[in-house]
Symmetry: C2
Subunit: 493 residues, 2 copies
């Protein structure tokens, strides 16, 4: 491959890694007063990254790239795609979006505190306008939302996504209604507190047991859990410790651990190239959801881990049965807040947002009517009356960045996870027996082979199709839900 291309690619990947490090540090160890300085440093790094990416010489070098292997062709394709998208957006628009984001973020925080959507509305309006302009700059076939989806889920199209989400919605709504009617046991945690140091120690036992390599990554604490990547040998995740909610750290670690295993599973020889990254946020999320929900909320997993969890909290968990734990962690409930939603209702929150975003981008919904539209959909999908906009349209941070097209990747993660899980179990019929013994190695092994090692060789759906035999589908997800919750709640779904 052209030396210049390789060198520049490595430089860009190094810069991206350092941006990851500086962002991780901002959420973990940065002294309070250093926020403005760090913001300036990050802006400088991002400016340099952009400048080196749009450099006209890089276009020439890419044209002369002379790739000789499939991997080299994939590296160059990913870099060229990133560059071409970057050059299409005029600097004026980049700047306008950055400024609008910064204003919108401050306005959103205040509006949410005051439960006042109208104060936020002009900012959404501006961001929708700018994103429409950006979508036009990137180019599309008449569906602007496609150009935005491409940011988070390269290759995905509205025409492919929407029918799947619509069918999923139509299946989920009656399931939720059925499960809602079943009486639930009282929470086994109510009124108890759980020592945060013991919680931490338990999560630090879970991580290596999952296969996370603590010599090539670490866990720290932060307000909002996340996974950050500086290099495949330096994968950092965080968890949140709450004395009243022991599941917060536990499932936080399983979720971020799933992301982390993915990042550690890229091939070493792809280390400083464009291939050592996931092809989409949806596929990344499939890994976290698989470990959090399909492994972490399963009976087999807790056969092994419940006694260990009880050792950490002998008083609080004395006499707690496996069934009680499974009910506790798989409680289905209609709630207002997406991030607190369970496995069954979660995707309805996503469908709601995706449908609204699509209408905003198509221009069939005005930002002035957004809050009412939100509330109407909440009623239709979840049967809930939104009492105030902090529990409604103002709950998520995404739109204050103008991140339209991000939400569907959460649903894609759930759907991909279910399909991968089904294929994995077909290939390894003994997975449950191994999980009961505390052995999740066969799971990691299958994911390494079928997903992780490919990095960005192919787009997400291609990787899923090769691994499962089918591409994006809601069938496996729904099948799994029906089986699991039907059994748990003793109802036919």
């Amino acid at each position: 491959m052209n030396e210049h291309v390789l060198t520049r690619m490595q430089e860009l990947r190094d810069l991206a890694g350092i941006i990851g490090l500086a962002s991780w540090d901002q959420e973990t160890y940065l002294p309070k007063k250093a926020d403005p300085a760090r913001a300036a440093q990050l802006a400088t790094l991002q400016g340099l990254y952009h400048e080196r990416l749009v450099d006209p010489r890089l276009a020439e070098w890419l044209d002369a790239a002379k790739e000789t292997t499939d991997d080299q062709r994939a590296m160059v394709r990913v870099l060229r795609r990133e560059r071409e998208r970057a050059v299409k957006v005029p600097g004026r628009l980049v700047k306008a979006i950055a400024e609008a984001q910064s204003l919108a973020l401050a306005a959103w925080r205040q509006a949410r505190a005051e439960k006042n959507y109208p104060a936020f509305q002009p900012h959404v309006e501006t961001l929708v306008t700018l994103r429409r302009e950006q979508a036009d700059a990137w180019g599309h076939d008449g569906e602007r939302y496609d150009a935005l989806l491409e940011v988070y889920e390269p290759g995905m199209k509205t025409a492919r996504l929407l029918p799947v989400l619509t069918r999923l919605k139509d299946t989920l709504v009656p399931i939720v209604t059925k499960l809602d009617a079943v009486p639930k046991p009282k929470s086994i945690f109510a009124g108890k507190t759980f020592d945060v140091d013991a919680q931490w120690r338990f999560t630090m036992q879970l991580l290596p047991a999952m296969g996370f390599d603590l010599d090539a990554g670490r866990q720290d604490k932060s307000v909002h859990p996340f996974t950050s990547n500086t290099h495949l040998t330096d994968v950092r995740l965080t968890t949140r410790l709450s004395p009243e909610l022991p599941f917060s750290a536990l499932f936080g670690t399983l979720h971020e651990g799933g992301h982390g295993l993915y990042e550690q599973g890229f091939l070493p020889e792809h280390g400083r190239t464009t291939l050592s990254q996931a092809p989409s946020m949806g596929l990344h999320e499939s890994q976290s959801r698989l470990w959090e929900n399909l492994v972490g909320r399963s009976r087999s997993f807790w056969v092994h881990w419940l006694p260990k969890f009880q050792q950490h909290f002998p008083t609080q968990l004395a006499g707690v049965s496996l069934d009680a734990m499974l009910h506790e962690m798989n409680r289905v409930e209609r709630t207002f807040i997406r991030v607190e939603a369970d496995e069954v209702t979660y995707n309805l929150h996503i469908v709601l947002r995706t449908e609204l975003e699509l209408e905003l981008l198509r221009g069939t919904l005005s930002t002035k009517d957004l809050s009412e539209a939100w509330n109407a959909k909440t009623k239709a999908l979840l049967g809930l009356d939104v009492p105030s906009s902090d529990l409604g349209v103002l709950q998520d941070i995404h739109w204050s960045y103008g991140e339209f097209g991000y939400f569907p990747t959460y649903a894609l993660g759930n759907l991909y996870a279910a399909s991968l899980w089904k294929a994995l179990r077909r290939a390894n019929p003994g997975v449950d027996a191994e999980l009961e013994k505390g052995n999740s190695a066969p799971i990691l092994q299958w994911l390494r082979t079928n997903v992780h090692q490919h990095g960005y060789r192919h787009d997400a759906e291609t990787i899923v199709t090769r691994a499962t035999g089918t591409g994006l589908t809601d069938v496996d997800f729904v099948e799994n839900l029906k089986a699991k919750y039907g059994a748990l709640y003793g109802v036919s779904l």
Copy 2:
């Protein structure tokens, strides 16, 4: 000031800050397997820094800078100086030095383990040759060592430094002989261990008491203590915890805390400019030495802190008197290893190295004879026979980086510290009484006004001269030593 100059200056300072962060992280939290990736990332950042610095457009912008204030003139002067020195060194030489350093470092580690100087000698030879070439590229008036001193101590010349060090040596040798003859009390720590968590808590009490702002900085643990700077609002220091040596963490924190207070004391308006840095390593070291030795090893300081230290170690320090503590921390002893040397003998280790470096650079000493020359000087200055080169010429890491000219800054730090301390006490006669009450605020206040706030407005000796009335001198240092150790050991010095 020219917008381009300001923008580029801020960008360079941001990059320098991020290099500081990535280096700090390397010594504190980096996962084991990520060392090669971090080395590559740092090389990329340093390469970008260099490229942006030597950019020919920056020279044009600097020529059109139109500074309107003294501070702006100083900013531009510092940036221009850095740029001019960078462009004078051909890329070929920069690369050759980097390669030689990398080989020498590995060879030094092995040679030291094997106590085998001849195995390291060819590497010193190469590095001396390359540094002579680099000195010629930078330019000098016949004394190559001047060009290297300029890296660490801008403005300092061999002709100014050497007579001071020589007189210091001639004064110190007989003082050490006298103190060596006095019988010393047995160590009060021998055979005891000190809980490292309690040590940590004690250092975390010391830091804010010194005036270190933990909202604009932090302390962590590392194998070798150091202070790193990302911005004046983000100053990070480390300490080392050893169960057998409680002074390691204690004086480590006082030392690094002194560095840290300096970095936190730059003016906020100098934040992303070339002025928010010390003008020299010697002046930086004066701040650490002042807090470590002149404050931290003084009777007044321990009047307040001994009871608190005893609270942390009630068993180990039961009945320990103030006198016993002061003897313990001010033990004068002839030893082989510089980093373990006391306040009195320390500078002799520096004189030894400076004289050898000078001869190497002048060509009057061959690297083949370096180990014998080292041993001869150790005998002459410290009266010791070096038994093996790991206790002699191979003990320090500096020469494996070809860092000739660095060592004298440690002595400059000691001398500047003593002169500043004298001026500070002249201006604040109540300093001791305040220290006895645990109040070091007048010390910090004076240093802020006379040293810290100036940043890089002037060179080090100018700042010292304005603060003390005299420039570089050994007089204040010797006067302080004679008074302190004469009283402590009951001898006339």
